[in-house]
Amino acid sequence: MRAAVQVMHVLERVPSAASGALVRARPDGSLAGALLVERGRVCWAMSQRSRRLTDILVAEQDSLSRAELAAVVAMCTRDRRPFGETLIERGLISLPVLHRALLRHTCEALDCLVRDDAESWAWRAHSGYGYHPMLTFSPAELLAGVRALAHPMLAAQARDRLREVVRPGQLGFAMERAAGARLPLAQIGCECVDLAALGDLAAQAADMMAVASVAGVAVALAELDAGGACASWNEGNVSFVVLCDGDLAFNRLLAQMAMVSAVATSA
């Protein structure tokens, strides 16, 4: 949990919609690692102590060989071509696999960086853009990714449950119910929601469920000011929040939640 909180603090250092790098050096002046940001989204993190992207790609996709990857790395270095896009162009991996591997790599690097015995972070702005927006990550994705490193089973179960419940156009996230654990453990569609808004929603959902559970309530639905609707419920050690927007948002979410409440817990 501590690493995830530190990652949150690091992400809060990134100026809104800015591009640049957060760099962390060791007391001897050597580079501990860095976090690259474009338009407020994280595109890459590197740590001297984390796994390489090629190791993660091989673990993600059995059909990829180290020799193939080494050849692509050499070619991309020589011709100054983007590595990920080249892998896709050559049909070696799919976009979802690349996205997952890059997210995993960035989260592992961040997790190592915040644990590193290094000095404080320094922000260096730049104006060059080079990363495809689909291969960059929001704070919510990164926090859920870092939390999943510590709790892989719980995060996978929460993500599977969200996939069952969250419909196209909706967004949802899951948090552990333990004290001080109000950070996303899994999320769907929260890429554009800032961390403060997620925190507010999580706090409100936890408060509501704490009160409502006295009457055996398993699911709480609320109409939001802008016409949207929000539902929250608990399953075991995990709290879920789903947000719905648009016409008849409240009624649609109500129909969905009538089914969810069969497995939700009021305690």
Partner: protein, 112 residues
């Protein structure tokens, strides 16, 4: 028939309909439509509804689902401290029950 009795009769399988004041927790008016329910259950349901809506920052309308009951809670637009609470059995048509409570608070309740 009072307006509150009207809504209690209109919502199928209604257990209780009540006006509560979220500032004081006072139950201003109450119609128990199904007397077979334990009075303690009704009292707890009204307490919880009051507590959930106590903060004016909370949304104007909420629905709480328990395994056997639906708690529909709606703030009155002209007086946000005044909240209508309708508790009915889960067997009822959820969407219809919510729509009835909404139209009641939007229109007829203004005169209550």
């Amino acid at each position: 028939m009072t307006p509150l009795a009207d809504i209690a009769a209109a919502v199928r399988d209604c257990v209780v309909a009540a006006w509560v004041d979220t500032r004081t927790g006072e139950v201003c008016e109450r119609v128990v439509a199904d007397a077979r329910h334990d009075p303690a259950f009704i009292a707890t349901a009204l307490d919880v509804a009051t507590e959930v809506m106590r903060s004016r920052e909370r949304p104007p309308r909420m629905v709480l689902l328990s395994p056997h009951h639906v708690h529909i809670v709606q703030r009155l637009a002209r007086d946000p401290h005044r909240v209508l609470v309708v508790v009915c059995a889960r067997s009822a048509n959820l969407g219809l029950a919510v729509a009835l409570v909404r139209s009641f608070t939007d229109a007829g309740a203004e005169a209550a």
